[in-house]
Amino acid sequence: MITPVACDPAVDAAAMSPVSVATTAMGGRLAIHLSAERDDLRALHDGRQILARIDRWAARLSRHLEGSELSALNDDPNWTVTIRPTLGAVLWAGLDAHDASEGFVDIALLDARLAAEGLIPAATWPATHRWSVRFGPGRGAFVQREPGIRFDLGGVAKGWLADRALDLLARWPGVAVDADGDLAVRCAAGQRWAIAVDDPRTDNASLAVLNLSTAAGTLPARWGIATSGTSVHRWGVRGSVRHHLIDPRTGNSAVTDVVQATVACGSALRAEALAKAAVIAGSSEGLALLERAGVAGAILLTDRDEILALPSTLALLDQTGEA
């Protein structure tokens, strides 16, 4: 149940019933929640329309679907490949994520990921993976890359899709888009969205609840909340435990003390990149990186069962008890 909560006494909380639509995509859930009257047919229409559009984009960006644009790019032996603008935009977003994460997020490491899973032999490291994307004069884009480079968009695509869906729902001041746990939220004036940070140790438990609010009389605020970690996608290979977060410095599953990291900032794409970077970097270096990035908040769970947070996070924690 999704409930945007009124934090302004002038706003009638009972009048704010959410309209939610959801489907399954990208190997997880994809949901849109609109703060509107429960019987608002426009909200239902807009939510379904954007959900279908995002779902179609997600299918193009999946490496697990043989007919996807990403699979076609990964299978193409040519150095230069023409791609459609949506894939080009997400590859571009991958470069943004690489910069925002100080190099810890690299979408060109599919082979290292598959090697970590034991599906293909490990390549020598560091592997060269120079590539670029540029947009042509028309609607197309071009990828240039060294032979053998294959892409895994993963969380970058989810963050990008969440942000894009929020853009497409610009007419709605209160919106939350859930792209498999990576969230893009627009908080209308006088509203508060409560975001539970999942506790991976216990089913249906939370490490904390983050409150995203916008003061009455101000413009809607935009947020990105994302979580990354090593406790869901993990497996054993020849006696060793591995996970899906590849450290670009080693080409292997990151050796880290961070089990899970959650970041709150201005966009889902950036939050996802920084959360992943914090896990790969480890708690000490990761917190320093997050502080340099100026995030609004971050909560890390370590393998010592510590919950670490940046000081800025305290402003987002539930301190009112009004919920």
Binding site: I2, T3, V5, M26, G27, G28, R29, H33, G154, G155, A176, D178, D180, G181, D182, L183, V185, W193, A194, I195, A196, V197, D198, P200, D203, N204, S206, L207, A208, V209, I225, A226, T227, S228, G229, S231, V232, H233, Q260, T262, S283, S284, L287, A288, E291, R292, I299, E306, I307, L308, A309, L310, P311, L314, L317, D318, Q319, T320, G321, A323
Partner: protein, 129 residues
Amino acid sequence: MTSARTPRPGTAPRPVPRRPDPTRLRFGLAAGGLAALSALITAIATPASTGAPVPAVSTPASAPASATTVVQRRPIQYVQLAPGQSAPPGAKVIDAKAPKPITIVTLVPAPAAQQPVVIRTTQSGKVIP
């Protein structure tokens, strides 16, 4: 040439003024010095402050009141060298102009289970019951 005054005839010699006994003052100064030295030693020997205190996070009305502890930790992670100094083995050296890293350990209050939440941020692929 020296000049020595002789008392006038018929006048009694002036009594030599007595100087105050310095013993009491010396004891006082010694005690004050010991107190200052003791304070100085205490300031040097005591570990540095762990940073400005963070106000305790109040829990929601329905949350357990015991889960309100907020602990702040500022570990030494990096070495900043002064001119002429060299780094100890294994130390990570940072630029003096770089922002100082801060690590905060916060025991976040457990959220109330009955909160009307909520969207949940999770790792990808996590199945929510």
